[in-house]
Symmetry: C2
Subunit: 120 residues, 2 copies
């Protein structure tokens, strides 16, 4: 379960234009991930700067990496992302479900809820 320190690091990591773009690119790319060079082109930062941001995201537990040939492939840490959301919304309704209904609606529209993928 995510603690406050991790959550702060993760939110701060996401609160930066280039890093947010990196994470969204990786979320869209899926588990296979993208090579650092490809990311640099897509996000529009220099290699040095990208490396700095990737390290930051890794420290925050939002991405992971693996080497493949001479490239390093980065991918989104989906468990980290969901843990973050869980931390933010923990104790959100305290027995009053109507409080978090807007949040739930936004999420069900976005996520592929298992056992509920027939429509869409």
């Amino acid at each position: 379960m995510m603690d406050e320190r991790q959550a702060i690091a993760a939110f701060a990591a996401l609160g930066q234009e280039h890093r947010l773009r990196i994470v969204r690119a990786l979320v869209t790319a899926g588990p296979d991930g993208l090579a650092a060079g490809v990311l640099a082109g897509g996000v529009g930062v220099s290699g040095t700067n990208l490396s700095f941001h990737l390290k930051e995201l890794s420290r925050a537990g939002l991405i992971q990496s693996r080497r493949e040939g001479r490239s390093i492939l980065y991918s989104a840490a989906f468990a980290g992302l969901s843990g973050l959301v869980e931390f933010l919304m923990r104790d959100c309704c305290q027995g009053r479900p109507e409080v978090c209904t807007p949040a739930v609606e936004a999420l069900t529209a976005c996520l592929c809820l298992p056992g509920d993928t027939a429509h869409a």
Copy 2:
């Protein structure tokens, strides 16, 4: 629908110890909200500093305020919070639901999903 600029502001706002505590306190407090003075005590910041952070959170669309007597009551903007999550996870699985299953599981454990609360 939330755009990138808003999302960056919101994540950056949450990526700060005191502001994250403020938001979590307000999420827990629910729609009624809390007075600024109460928040200052709970979070452990000076009035001046609290005011700075509240303004920042308000600018980011994560909280709202209303005056009541000589207090100002702040409350969480649940729509803003859920929009943020939606932005982060948009296009997360591209037809591969297994990708975001961990995220979904964390959320169903936390949120009071309407019409789907029977099973854990």
